[in-house]
């Protein structure tokens, strides 16, 4: 799920930037430092939307660098256990399939794929129902439920299921002709 949050960060700046463009420099440094990163608490920082405030700088003893507390608004992506969302299948093998939802990778094990779907190997590996009516392969869109979230140093990894009601391949009525 995407959230719009206000976060805080302490930014250090070298005295060479203490001029008329101090705030711009801090803003661009913030964006470079924070956009695209992933933290355990807030998930992935997708984009900084606004710098709310820059507090008074504090000179650090010994180095001359100054630390500024910066409050900023940003869009983050943080998956939750129990959340239902849509994703794109990126890889299919006999253990299950991998899907991507924005910056996050989700693995759905074959144990959590409905029993009536079987793995078919070949040029385009896929899971298909016995009557061939439903197929999951690379680039398929699926609706899945996240059942586990693991946070590593700089990445979030999820496991999901499509075994519950109303989960599985998305049939887009607009696409069907």
């Amino acid at each position: 799920m995407f959230f719009h949050m206000v976060l805080e960060r302490n930014m250090q700046l070298h005295p060479r930037y203490f001029g008329p463009h101090l705030h711009e420099k801090l803003t661009s440094k913030l964006v470079k430092d924070v956009e695209g990163t992933c933290g355990g608490k807030h998930g992935f920082v997708v984009a900084v939307t606004k710098v709310e405030s820059i507090g008074k700088g504090l000179i650090r003893e010994g180095t001359g660098f100054v630390t500024f507390p910066v409050k900023y608004q940003c869009v983050v992506f943080r998956p939750f256990r129990g959340e239902v969302l849509e994703a794109v299948v990126t890889l299919v093998n006999k253990m299950g399939f991998f899907a991507e939802a924005g910056p996050v990778n989700i693995f759905v094990s074959n144990h959590l794929i409905p029993d009536d779907m079987e793995f078919q190997s070949g040029d385009i590996p896929n899971y298909t129902t016995s009557d061939g009516s439903v197929k999951i392969q690379k680039d398929s869109e699926v609706r899945l439920k996240i059942i586990g979230v693991r946070v590593d140093a700089a990445e979030i990894f999820c496991i999901g299921t499509i075994k519950d009601d109303f989960l599985g391949v998305i049939n887009d009525p607009d696409a069907a002709s």
């Binding site: 995407f2 695209g36 608490k41 997708v46 939307t49 869009v75 256990r81 869109e141």
Partner: protein, 138 residues
């Protein structure tokens, strides 16, 4: 570690900070990221070099999975859903997945049944029909 084990979006246990934060539907994120991309294009010749992989992947994702395309409709969707006393998280999951039946809606967001916010299933059905009406006239 224990905080993560207690988390469960199906029970709206997502932590205070996220419960109070503003949730964004995919279509809303799409508008925000589009604007940001435009700003980058105006400022430099090569906007692609300024964006992270996280940004690119998120942009692709919300473009692909947005049910509503223009800003007016997106605002309407939020208005319609806000008429019911939903938590931000519940509102956005419904806006993203657009369930067609009451049964589906409860499967996607189990908490709409709890806490007695909807008098009965008909109230949930009305909300879903209002939502699908917006899509029809987009």
């Amino acid at each position: 570690m224990s905080v993560e084990e207690e988390e469960n979006a199906a029970e709206l246990k997502i932590g205070d900070e996220f419960l109070k934060a503003k949730c964004l539907m995919n279509c809303e994120v799409s508008l925000i990221l589009d604007k940001k991309y435009e700003q980058l294009q105006n400022m430099s010749d090569d906007p692609m070099s300024q964006t992270s992989q996280v940004f690119e992947k998120s942009l692709q994702y919300v473009k692909r999975f947005s049910r509503y395309k223009n800003a007016e409709t997106v605002k309407q969707v939020r208005e319609v859903l806000s008429r019911n006393r939903l938590a931000e998280f519940e509102l956005c999951v419904l806006g993203n997945l657009c369930p067609e039946t009451v049964e589906e809606a409860i499967a996607m967001v189990p908490t709409i049944k709890s806490k007695g916010r909807f008098q009965d299933d008909d109230a949930i059905d009305k909300m879903l029909r209002d939502l699908s009406m917006i899509k029809k006239f987009e």
